[in-house]
């Protein structure tokens, strides 16, 4: 029966490829129906599986961990296109298995959607789970965040493999208590960076101890609810870190972990946390130091994450923001720059974005510093315009252009530094629009 399913799957992959269609998800969807939802069960995997989950940073951390093994000479399989649901992982394995369903690799490294961790790894044996953070994101798709954490928590109750957790996020650190018999729980942690605060700066969740209900106390907040927390009543948060990032200097873009200095290319506090998770995985798998250093120091991305564009002679930086945390981060970077600047905000509400856009009200626009003009675009261009207006920003400086090319042209009309924030489904169209403008009006893109 297994072989028949796999042959069917492989035929679908072949046909889709013949017509040059993306076979990233559809074969898995068909098999999902044929197997009544158990589309990953038919594969025979003997090698270790490492999964990365969390709201932000999955793609970066998955790619880096894959490079650790790849540069160490191992054969790996990774879901690079971000097809991170059970059907996406099934489609990927279909391309890499033989007729018997046997998958040939040294390691499988999968970015896995938060809600699909229990689904996929009840069917495939997981060796290591890396959990980065939990923020409000696409709540209407996943149900409320607590439900989501509960799902992963129930999975962790019987999980005996390695659990690498962000020890500075109470939402992820709590998973370390799900299975008291699991001796393989490892927390990563970071000492405060220059912009860490004593009080919370941005909207957040998880302010109360999930075990006893007491308000959590923080020594410092790095961003949002990420920071050194502890429950004075039951001791939640008192753990020995497996690895600690310290001497974080974002201006020089360096940090140390376990005594080694790293110089990542992306210098944000987010990326420091992501790279600390990578360093934890490297430590666990005894990756040679020069390989880890090479991966952490060279990792960069051209997919709308702090990506640079030139609009004529004007520099523009595009950053993806799927949630308030991502957007607040861009506002921080904007404010840290001591010149006048303009912002284009592109907001869509397609299904993959989550139909609800109210998360924009958790963005702290009142911190706007020397922002001389705002252009808004996307399917919810007016919503973001209203939100920025109600934060006290002058309405006459807000221009709504639902059409993206018109919005980019409007942004490029004036001199000066430009920033662009786009949410999930808006990023690729925005990149294309920025490139189209550059091609037409000059400007080299990095």
């Amino acid at each position: 029966m297994n072989s028949i399913l796999i042959i069917i799957g492989k035929i679908i992959v072949a046909v889709l490829r013949l017509f040059r269609r993306n076979a990233g998800n559809l074969p898995g969807i068909v098999l999902w129906h044929l197997t009544k939802g158990k589309c990953c069960k038919m594969f025979k995997v003997d090698c270790p599986i490492i999964a990365v989950t969390g709201t932000n940073g999955k793609t970066s951390v998955t790619n880096c961990i894959a490079q650790l093994f790849e540069q160490n000479g191992k054969k790996i399989i990774i879901n690079k296109e971000g097809n991170n649901l059970d059907t996406g992982i099934c489609s990927l394995l279909l391309r890499h298995c033989n007729i018997g369903g046997k998958v040939n690799a040294d390691y499988l490294i999968f970015e896995t959607d938060e809600s699909h961790v229990p689904v996929v790894y009840s069917q495939l044996k997981l060796e290591t789970l890396v959990v980065l953070n939990f923020f409000r994101d696409q709540l209407d798709r996943n149900g409320e965040m607590e439900t989501l954490i509960q799902k992963i928590n129930s999975f962790c109750k019987t999980f005996e493999g390695n659990l690498i957790l962000n020890g500075d996020d109470p939402n992820t650190a709590r998973l370390g208590r799900a299975n008291p018999d699991n001796k393989n729980v490892k927390y990563f942690h970071a000492k405060p960076y220059a912009f860490a605060t004593e009080t919370i700066f941005e909207a957040s969740e998880g302010r109360f101890c999930p075990f006893c209900g007491e308000a959590l106390e923080y020594d410092y907040y790095q961003y949002s609810h990420i920071g050194k927390f502890c429950c004075k009543k039951c001791g939640f948060g008192n753990y020995e870190p497996y690895i600690t990032a310290e001497n974080i200097d974002l201006e020089k873009s360096v940090f140390t972990a376990d005594g080694h200095e790293y110089s990542p290319k992306l210098n944000s506090i987010y990326n420091i946390y992501n790279m600390t998770a990578v360093a934890a995985a490297a430590k666990l798998y005894n990756i040679p130091e020069n390989v880890t250093d090479n991966v952490i120091s060279n990792y960069t991305i051209n997919n709308g994450r702090m990506e640079a564009f030139m609009l004529g002679d004007r520099k523009a930086t595009l950053n993806l923001a799927k949630n308030p945390v991502g957007a607040n981060m861009t506002l921080r970077v904007m404010n840290e720059m001591q010149t006048e600047k303009e912002l284009l905000f592109v907001l869509n509400d397609n299904i993959a974005d989550g139909l609800d856009v109210s998360w924009i009200w958790d963005i702290n626009f009142s911190v706007f510093d020397r922002v001389t003009r705002v252009v808004t675009s996307g399917t919810r261009a007016y919503d973001i315009a209203v939100r920025i207006k109600c934060s006290g920003y002058p309405a006459e400086k807000i221009i709504v252009c639902p059409d993206l090319d018109a919005a980019v042209a409007e942004l490029a009309k004036t001199d000066g530094r430009k920033f662009v924030i786009a949410n999930y489904t808006a990023v690729q169209p925005t990149r294309s629009a920025l490139k189209r403008y550059s091609e037409k009006h000059g400007g080299k893109n990095e």
Partner: protein, 247 residues
Amino acid sequence: MNKIKILHMYADMLDLYGDSGNMEIIAYRCKMRGIECEIDKYSIDSEQPDFSSYDLIYIGGGADLEQQHISEDLVKCRNGIEAAYKNGTFLFLICGGYQLMGKHYRDADGVDIPGLGLFDYYTIAEPNRKKRCIGNVVIRTEFTGKTVDIVGFENHGGQTNGVKTPLGEVLYGHGNCTKSSHEGYFEKNVIATYMHGPCLSKNPEVSDYIIGYCLNRKIDTAIELTPLDDKLENDCRQVMIERLLKK
């Protein structure tokens, strides 16, 4: 200078889907008109305030866990909130805040959380956690004296029954129960609704109804609110109404 006093309850716990944005909008619309707007916060174990001294009490929505945390505390405030409501304080309640003012809330596990019982309605959570009323919602209202279609976003498992005076008639979306005909609860000094978005972001008439009520509740000659430029808000709503209601 004209002034309104607001008590925002459990702002640190009940702030789902941008609900705190409603307070930002009220404060913004007051500021644009030179009306002073004082917002106090109350949370679990704060000292009991004099609820009746406020013109408006606001409670947002939260996740189930947070809702359980606050319900015990809210019961302690029952007498104060009831006296304020009877004294004419405006109650603006979203989602969880709406549910907890009714008789009771039965959660998805069948456990009854007692409400304050200010109003006759009651809420039963859909036992299947996956079956939620989620999506954009458009309702037709008459409470401002004019026909106004308002737009928001709902996401609730709770089915609220026994509402005699709803806020509006559902044109798109679910409303109080799955595929129901009406949404929310209304009295002259109560607006309770499942609408997030936040609710006031593209419905300026609702904001101004609340502000107008608060300003005028204690005086004989009504103060007219200065009109504001609501072009962005109105365009924002119009885009959604055209998208959702076109067949």
